[in-house]
């Protein structure tokens, strides 16, 4: 082995602490060489080892009759009936997207797709969840445009529809934008593949793109916070190749069809190293690899570089001897490089050769399972009380909400994201039944009569103000979005984006949010089957808001239950299911109209939320619901406006009467109480709907809001408490549409930048 002295500096450059290095010495019983140090460094990075988060993630409920595969594999899977499983996962690509937004986001999509098709599932839907700084800065618009076009390019090119997602804007993300991507695939339940390296003597094959020096130490980078210098020490950026990935995808599904594999794992972060260690460690075996056999794109690559490269579009396979020729033949058919690079051994070692020479030899378990685990100190931040204190009496109430609604609709966080999703081919494959623009996206599963609804949600301001509640609210909102679309929630994937876990306040946010998510998931009986943690989202000491994103999937049993958010016909009656409360804390209204991000977030009553969701599902199944839309950012008026505006071809109007009932007017109109759903029903069904809701034992509050109209305006009358004249507001639907649809494009055009 070429000997480089391992100096304290070298250890530090590899992001390893003194303690961690001691642990390495114990595992090895000797000093590591440079290659081995590199392997430990990436595998023990936060990104790969989850060393700060793992102990807490145990709180998530992960079991349930529907779970086919829980956390621990490339992706999770739930049973959707008819012998099929839905395989899904979400992942972050935050740091690479900040450095190079187009390629960073594109390769993020590539990575999550591989996670799905390594399980043998055909990817059928992508979603994305994005966070950027406000659009008045050219750098932020540049990042937004780059990220969106990167996602668009990769997803469109490989032919998987991008059918939904969410974006919010807050300057806290200016130096740490978030790019979370979700993918879902379908597989026959009994054909699920796993990342196993079982069977001593089995062959290890490498397929896909040739290895270059891309993104070496990407994993350690993703585990490091940024400072101004990191823009200069730009690492080798990875470039995506969606066409090659398409070939890889088809080849992998063909392996499955021909039953050629024992196990398969994609090479994501930490490339060849992590894929081989994880496969061996999961199976209790060892792996021996010859880096000399790895197809390479560049000359003179060292074993260190080959092992740590993060070149995209590569897979590691394990096949029984005798089947490798068939594997190679499939690869040839699809025109992708492939090579036998090693074999499965029985000694639990990851042994790397270069020809005859052994260049690294480490117990696979030591790297994977043996990674450090920290129970890092946590404490609520001192500023928490200041954040939560909100003296409403010091805020003048509205006397009229006409202008506030227009302003809120134009706030980029609330405004239509059409500018974004029009760049995504959300229809390719002809399965998208509900396109972006409703509460959840819906794809049909051909041949089953069923469909899947999916959504991603998370409100980081709520999480900042109360991370426990914020976590629960995200789960509740995701479930509500599915239910509004006619879906029964089945499973969750999450992406937990937080700051520096070495800071107790950040760790506290993390732990509280995880608990909030866990409790809500338990209560809704939707287990967490996969997820991802992204820590160190911090620049120059400033952390992002705690941003857990929930991806949720539900099944719609019958096509006729598929429901959308927009009003359908004039004359229909509009109802509110749920209660308006004085929930102004942490709202978009406070931010937009009062420049405050303060207060306690809305209070979530899990039991009531569940009853309301059950009620909506029942009404949908009875066929009584014309439209259902949940209230989220912007509150009741924004929700009503969206119900009118979002009809794909013929926007409708509405006449609404509200009664103030001791609430502040701003809270009534723009408060963000959860557990509220605006539905419209045919007026002839109104009595049945009422009766049905009453049968639910009075747990489901319901009130009449008004009527859908064919006029081109929305009329809202608020009956004030005794003696005061009512407040009347009227908006031409066209004006609302202008604000809502044109806000993003106009902000992006005016501030045009690189």
């Amino acid at each position: 082995m070429p000997s480089t002295t391992i100096t304290p500096q070298l250890i530090q450059q590899h992001g390893l602490s003194e303690d961690e290095y001691q642990k390495i010495l114990t595992h090895l019983g000797r000093e590591p060489n440079l290659t081995e140090l590199g392997v430990f460094s990436v595998m023990w990075s936060e990104h790969c080892s989850y060393k700060s988060s793992r102990v807490h993630l145990k709180r998530f409920p992960t079991e349930g009759p529907q779970v086919v595969q829980g956390p621990g594999e490339n992706a999770g899977a739930v049973d959707i009936g008819d012998g099929f499983a839905a395989v899904f996962k979400m992942e972050s690509h935050n740091h690479p997207s900040f450095i190079e937004p187009f390629q960073g986001a594109a390769t993020g999509v590539g990575g999550i797709l591989r996670d799905i098709f390594t399980m043998g599932a055909r990817p059928i839907a992508l979603l994305n969840s994005l966070r950027f700084g406000e659009l008045d800065s050219p750098q932020n618009t540049h990042l937004l445009k780059g990220v969106v076009s990167g996602i668009s390019w990769y997803g469109n090119c490989i032919g998987v529809p991008t059918i939904g997602g969410e974006i919010t804007f807050n300057d806290i993300y200016s130096k740490n934008p978030l790019v979370n991507v979700f993918c879902l695939g379908i597989v026959k339940k009994d054909r699920l593949l796993r990342g196993l390296a079982k069977g001593v003597g089995n062959q290890v094959l490498y397929i896909g793109a040739k290895t270059g020096r891309d993104g070496i130490h990407g994993a350690t980078m993703a585990s490091d916070s940024f400072d101004d210098a990191s823009e200069k020490k730009r690492p080798n950026v990875q470039v995506g190749d969606p066409f090659l990935e398409k070939l890889l995808l088809e080849a992998c599904l063909e392996f499955l069809e021909q039953d050629l594999l024992v196990g398969i794992q994609d090479m994501g972060a930490a490339g060849l190293t992590s894929s081989s260690c994880e496969m061996a460690s999961r199976s209790g075996t060892g792996i021996e690899l010859d880096v000399g056999k790895v197809p390479r794109r560049e000359h003179n690559m060292t074993p260190y570089e080959i092992l740590l490269s993060e070149s995209q579009e590569r897979m590691l396979l394990v096949a029984q001897p005798g089947k490798e020729q068939a594997v190679l033949a499939v690869c040839q058919k699809w025109g992708i490089d492939a090579a036998v690079v090693g074999k499965v051994t029985d000694d639990g070692m990851l042994r790397i050769r270069e020809g005859d020479q052994i260049v690294a030899e480490i117990p696979a378990d030591a790297i994977a399972e043996g990674a450090p685990r920290y129970e890092r100190p946590s404490a609520p931040p001192q500023y928490q009380e200041v954040l939560q204190a909100l003296n409403l009496d010091a805020l003048p109430d509205l006397t009229d909400g006409t202008d506030a609604l227009l302003q809120l609709l134009a706030s980029p966080t609330i405004a239509s994201k059409r500018w974004v999703y029009q760049q995504y081919d959300y229809m390719v494959g002809t399965n998208t039944v509900v396109c972006p623009g409703s509460d959840a996206a819906v794809v049909r599963i051909k041949g089953t009569g069923k469909a899947l609804a999916m959504t991603t949600d998370g409100n980081s301001r709520y999480c900042l103000l109360n991370p426990y509640m914020g976590g629960s609210l995200a789960v509740a909102e995701a479930a509500r979005n599915l239910v509004c679309s006619g879906g029964k929630p089945l499973g969750v994937t999450d992406c937990l984006n937080f700051g520096n876990p070495e800071r107790p306040d950040i760790m506290w946010q993390f732990i509280m949010a995880v608990e909030g998510i866990a409790d809500a998931c338990r209560s809704f009986e939707v287990p967490v089957v996969s997820g991802n943690v992204s820590l160190y989202n911090e620049t120059n000491g400033l952390s992002i808001y705690p941003t857990p994103i929930i991806g949720m999937v539900g099944v719609i049993e019958r096509e006729e239950d598929i429901t959308t958010q927009w009003f359908k016909e004039s004359g229909d009656t509009i109802l509110l299911v749920g209660e308006n409360k004085e929930d102004l804390g942490g709202t978009e209204f406070l931010k937009v109209m009062h420049s405050r991000e303060q207060g306690m977030p809305p209070w979530l009553d899990l039991e009531q939320e569940k009853s309301i969701q059950a009620c909506i599902l029942t009404l949908i199944k009875k066929g009584w619901i014309q439209s259902a839309h949940d209230c989220s950012e912007g509150g009741l008026l924004v929700t009503l406006a969206e119900c009118c505006l979002t009809h794909p071809s013929a926007p409708l109007g509405a006449t609404i009467t509200l009664s103030q009932e001791r609430l502040r007017l701003d809270a009534l109109l723009f408060g963000e109480s959860p557990s509220r759903i605006v539905i419209s029903v045919k007026t002839k069904d109104l009595d049945s709907v009422r009766a049905c809701i009453q049968d639910m034992g009075g747990k489901v509050p319901m009130s009449l809001l008004g009527q859908v109209t064919a006029t081109d305006q929305i009329d809202v009358t608020v009956q004030k408490d005794q003696g005061q004249p009512p407040c009347q507001m009227v908006w031409p639907v066209k004006d609302l549409a202008d604000q809502w649809y044109n806000s993003l494009p106009s902000q992006l055009k005016m501030k045009d930048s690189p």
Binding site: S149, S152, W153, N156, C157, I158, G159, D241, P242, F243, L244, K246, Y421, Q422, Q423, Y424, D425, Y426, M427, V428, T430, V433, R444, E559, P648
Partner: protein, 213 residues
């Protein structure tokens, strides 16, 4: 639509036994270099060209249209959309020529609502070819507004003369950018795309297929 279909692998060299050939959308070869430029040289394309030259029905949708342009079966070329980015949305197109195997079931002036999904759909051809297209009624579809009026603002990509689809002089090869196959089933509220496939069937077997259940 009750017809049997058969996927042909790009490495094959024969299209024997086919009544019509459909080049679908997609990003063949990632659309690297130029849209359709590499796929145009797939081994199967020789047979497709021959089939077309013998009068066989060939329909190219989106990337399929782009490939047909690269082969020269249809005149012209695609430029990047004026807005540069990929656009996925519903558009309206007007049937300009109903006397083709692909539009038989429509009337001239019929407005179809079909989605587009492309980054390079800005059709271009030189003035001489454009006049020929116009003179021979080879412009089969133009982007229009909801009421069938061909306006600049209903042109989603900058295409010359609002062209959404053209056919060859013989009238057996059609290319169009919008996707009829994305709105041809009852589960999608819009089924305008069926008209194109129905027209093809009518011209092939002389009868209108039963509507889908």
């Amino acid at each position: 639509m009750g017809q049997s279909s058969h996927l042909i692998w790009h490495q094959e060299t024969s299209v024997q036994g086919m009544d019509a050939i459909l080049l679908p959308g997609g990003f063949s070869y990632g659309d690297y270099l130029r849209t359709g430029s590499i796929a145009r040289f797939s081994p199967i394309m020789e047979a497709v060209i021959q089939f077309a030259n013998q009068g066989g029905l060939v329909l190219g949708i989106c990337n399929g249209f782009q490939i047909l342009l690269e082969t020269g079966l249809l005149p012209g070329a695609m430029l990047r959309n004026t807005e540069l980015s990929f656009i996925c949305k519903e558009t309206y197109i007007r049937v300009e020529n109903a006397n083709t195997p692909f539009t038989k079931s429509c009337e001239v002036g019929k407005v179809l609502k079909l989605p587009i999904a492309h980054a390079d759909g800005n059709y271009f051809t030189n003035p001489v070819d454009l006049s020929a297209l116009q003179a021979n009624a080879q412009i089969v579809f133009r982007y229009c507004d909801r009421d069938g009026i061909v306006t600049p603002s209903s042109n989603p990509n900058g295409s010359i003369d609002n062209i959404a689809g053209i056919q060859n002089a013989q009238g057996n090869v059609l290319g169009l950018m919008p996707h009829p196959e994305r709105c041809a089933e009852p589960i999608f509220s819009n089924q305008d795309g069926r008209l194109i496939f129905e027209s093809m069937l009518t011209s092939l077997i002389g009868q209108i297929p039963l509507p889908a259940k």
